[in-house]
Symmetry: C2
Amino acid sequence: MDIRRADQIAASLEQLVFSGEFRDGERLDELRLAEQFHVSRTPIREALQVLVTSGLAEQVPRRGVFIRQPGPVELMEMFETMAEIEAVCGRLAAMRMTDQDIEALTAANERCQEAIQDSDPDRYYSENETFHQIIYRASTNSFLEKQALQLQNRLKAYRRIQLRFRGRLEQSMSEHSEVLLALQEGNADRAASVLRSHVAIQGEKFHQLVASLKR
Amino acid sequence: MDIRRADQIAASLEQLVFSGEFRDGERLDELRLAEQFHVSRTPIREALQVLVTSGLAEQVPRRGVFIRQPGPVELMEMFETMAEIEAVCGRLAAMRMTDQDIEALTAANERCQEAIQDSDPDRYYSENETFHQIIYRASTNSFLEKQALQLQNRLKAYRRIQLRFRGRLEQSMSEHSEVLLALQEGNADRAASVLRSHVAIQGEKFHQLVASLKR
DNA sequence: GTCAACTTTCTTGTATACAATATTAAGGTG
DNA sequence: CACCTTAATATTGTATACAAGAAAGTTGAC
């Protein structure tokens, strides 16, 4: 059980930032937030430090902390980085996966398939997340795994959007099968390259979406 | 100019942690630090939040924050991750480097060479850092660049140790040349694999060192 | 001497008070 | 009316005060 109010607040604020509740450049007013959470400024300030340190906000001395929502360019960079990190996880996982890991991954993949058959994008979304997390874990490098999870979480909201593209679910699914196959064969390079493009496509789709909104 | 005392303190503490001033599991006493830095507990606490968020320390509610020095296993994981991230930077850089980048990299490489001829390991160490940073930059992905810089900084102290191995400087140097060659050719796969093993070797050397200390 | 219950002291977490700097408003000048 | 100067106001940063839980010390029973 968590006793620190500051940590709870940090988590809440993080969620609010991820869900796009705050606009880019918006100032986080300490007093307002203090009232909102029914606490004094102290825990608010500690929560803001957390946001700043994890890169979700920027601090200008004597002026306050401001939300930093990634723009299109930074988002593309993040997607590219995610694709590369996934590729690395896949490469390592291909060499180190146990039979148990393969089983778990196969099961996750089947649950994805079911979600598609039930036309349940929310469930697909969630099972898809698990599928990838199993690969992170199977890299057998908990430091790398943590980095991957962090970035996955950060891109959550944006990944969700691109799944709405027509036919994307089915395409994503067939990519999964290729990933699974490469990992079963222990083909490191193939696993890496398939995973890379699987995630990179998400970035592409997102890019398309951004472009279409500008029109 | 930085006005926030808390930020300065956070930076100081970070350096103290990196330089191994604190033992693993050591508690950071707020009152003691407050006296030491001649401030109240408030800025100390904000600085501690930063350490915790960036993973350098762990916070146990109602008990304090404790230093978390990476053990041998985690260090190897970090080196492996660094190797993979460097490989990714190299892969992207190979495809995106400008002539200017190549020039800068060649110059940095020459300065490394000079440092070796002058038998100046400190200078080699610093120029080597620059060499790698140019590659991060040339990946043309500032998000990835930031991640790479962060990890490079985190591993600084440990990388330094392995350079003391006999003949390591010269070996490192010849690896650099191979990296440069691959990048000049725009050979992405080769740049990635050479960089990967270049950094991985550092991990290996470090592993040897840890093992030798245990005897 | 060991262990347990209780008391005291210490430490963290939060609230409040104060100091210093930014921002805004007001007033005067050309 | 624009622009500069200056006063009022608001907001951040730090210090201090207080509340609550944890650690350490003490006493007493066996």
